[in-house]
Subunit: 417 residues, 2 copies
């Protein structure tokens, strides 16, 4: 079946109009119906997934990739529950964030509205279909999903369930559509806005995918290319707290974008080097360090120039001394990715300067960088983290998927000359 991408875009635009006016109850009913449909279609979805996995075997794919592609009854249940969690969130649309009256009596309100049509380009993780579709629906946006070829059958089976939920709630099924052509040119068309029908692109996947999207997109993009997150241990840090935060920031999960990749230690606290390095190595982390770090512990490997700007997403960390707070701020400005950075110190003034001067989406004092996550912010599910500076910065949840307009209520006001 030949799919007409421009028609897909037009259908999405029409659906977006209906969604923008949809009642909260209707959207939530659709989300719950989607969850139900996914549970009911368990056999069908797992069969589709098996077909994808069969095809994946014939290719030379990484085992981590195949693992991410693999569905199980438990993962399907988590997907369904995720949709129910989104249904339980507050509706981000229609919120009056500001309201004031002008001297001439006009009342101005700033009210949240959906963005419109959001294109999601992802690799083969099956849950992205349900998560992204659900978050877009809740925020009143139509979604156009384009997943990787390797998860094609799985994504199609899940999309069918989402559309069933939309239909049951009386919403247009074009509110969540999947690009069914596996032609890579389809991504290019989405990145140029699909004839003016796509307002925003969200890429979900590895660095190569995000880099391509950032380089080619002609519409706004919410994304982060990488999370080179830093922990700075100040000379006024409590050592036990520093060890605990560094260990958690690096090792709780090494594959998430909020995991720390570089540990900077105040040269005024050189005595912290050894115990912090030991904590990391004992937890199974490879430490690559500067001369001082190598001297502090014989197991430290020398860090190359490249290490300081590397996102390992693995049990490896770069560690070294820095010239106090100013050195740390300068280092982060030079090597960081404006994602998430933390300072450990008992000195309040030093902490405040760090929080003020480090130009990242998320800056923390005495807390782990692994809190960089919409759920941990209380936003509910997130569609990703943005390191761009405009509109959305940090976790992108349903609220960040809305924009606003000004409504002005008058009684015949005209503007004087």
């Amino acid at each position: 079946m030949e799919q007409n991408l421009n028609q897909l875009g037009r259908q999405a635009r029409a659906a977006a109009k209906a969604l923008a006016q949809a009642k909260t109850e209707t959207k939530d009913a659709a989300l719950r119906a989607m969850a139900k449909a996914i549970r009911a279609a368990q056999t069908v979805i797992l069969a589709a997934n098996a077909k994808d996995l069969e095809a994946a075997k014939t290719k030379d794919l990484k085992s981590s990739f195949v693992d991410r592609l693999t569905l199980s009854p438990a993962r399907l249940e988590a997907m369904a529950r995720g949709l129910e969690d989104i249904a339980a969130l507050k509706d981000p649309v229609g919120r009056v964030s500001e309201k004031w009256t002008r001297p001439n009596g006009m009342e101005i309100s700033r009210i949240s509205v959906p963005i419109g049509v959001i294109g999601i380009i992802f690799e083969s993780r099956p849950n992205v279909t349900a998560d992204a579709g659900g978050l877009c629906l809740k925020s009143g946006n139509a979604a156009i999903l384009r997943g990787g070829t390797d998860g094609f059958n799985t994504a199609r089976a899940i999309t069918a369930c989402l559309q069933q939920g939309l239909q049951e709630a009386g919403l247009p099924i074009a509110a969540i559509q999947m690009v069914e052509t596996t032609d890579r040119a389809a991504v290019g068309e989405m990145l140029t806005g699909l004839g003016g029908t796509i307002d925003l692109i969200v890429p979900r996947g590895g660095k190569n995918l995000v880099a391509r999207v950032q380089a080619e997109a002609r519409v706004p993009v919410f994304s982060h290319l990488e999370g080179i997150c830093h922990v700075y241990v100040d000379k006024a840090a409590d050592l036990e707290m520093a060890k605990s935060i560094v260990l958690n920031a690096k090792m709780r999960r090494t594959g998430v974008c909020g995991s720390a990749e570089t540990i900077l230690i105040d040269k005024g606290a050189e005595q912290y080097l050894e115990p912090i390095i030991r904590t990391l190595i004992d937890a199974g982390c490879e430490v690559r360090g500067d001369a001082a770090a190598q001297q502090a512990d014989a197991d430290v490997k020398p860090a190359t120039a490249e290490d300081w700007s590397t996102e390992y997403l693995d049990a490896i960390v770069t560690l070294g001394l820095t010239d106090g707070l100013d050195g740390a701020i300068a280092h982060i400005a030079k090597y960081g990715s404006q994602h998430t950075e933390s300072i450990v110190t008992q000195d309040q003034a030093t902490a405040e300067r760090f929080l003020a001067e480090v130009d990242s989406a998320i800056v923390l004092h005495n807390a782990s960088t692994q809190f960089a996550d919409g759920g941990e912010f209380g936003f509910g599910a997130e569609i990703g983290i943005a390191t761009g500076k405009l509109h959305a910065r940090g976790p992108v949840g349903v609220e960040q998927l809305t924009t606003f307009k000004y409504q002005i209520r008058g009684q015949g006001q005209i503007r004087p000359a």
Copy 2:
């Protein structure tokens, strides 16, 4: 003197860091010193302007263009006062817009911060130099200004005053820099972000300039290509109010982006056609209309298909009947520019549907579209109006020139597995 654009960018980036931490008093002192410097340099600026005007005479420029380029003592005084008005605005930086505590005790604040470096590309209106430079400074952003060739000497003389003000207040003069090369390739370099140093572009000028910026920019842009603003007169409108609002929306100033270009009249209120058309024609407005409008008044010229999507910026309007509220909403969606639209009606439910369903930056009930202006919103001076949907929508004042970051204050919190 050869100017190195990349160096300009690096200097701007360094200045932006200092500005982001500058105290309100320092920024305001600089703005006031700039105003003083402009007043003191009146002779020098007017001489520079005379040089530009002399050169302009040798070219075949429109008289409206030459008028915009021309400075006078009164215009210079308005420019100086504009800077003092900006000094009097509340500092948009450092405002905590939200603050909450997580169950684990972490306190999360969403705090406003400057965007960074803003590139302003404009034609030859001299006041843009002072206005844009002042607004960027107040919002903590460094500005890179690139004006049209025809106003080069004027812009340079004004920039010198702005930099004198910065210097007197102890701020880096690179906070406001002017691109001194008249090479058009400089614009191209700015549009690609000047080696990662420009965060945002704001074009100020005609449709050709804005269209080029929108087409070529690889960094975010705040702009509107055109303002095809509509007034919809509902059958439940008060006729006197409708006449007053239509007249003001079209004729108060025809050259501003918030002026109405199309008047839609409910076909259930055909009797309003004649008095509304007469009001416009008596005020000197050319009316181009559909068959019904032509029948209502012999002075109405036939509207072509193109007229409905034309921004005249002149005393010309397109006018016709539409099929009630739904017809008006559909017409605006098809022909509008998502800028500003108004409904005139005494029916509250109809008004609320219009305010909810019309997808424009500004929607008004019983008020003139000419209120589409940062000053009229109470925002103070504006750098322009944005019709894009992300970050800034509608008037772009100092607040819209900021972004935000999340500051998290903890007591050693780590994230559980």
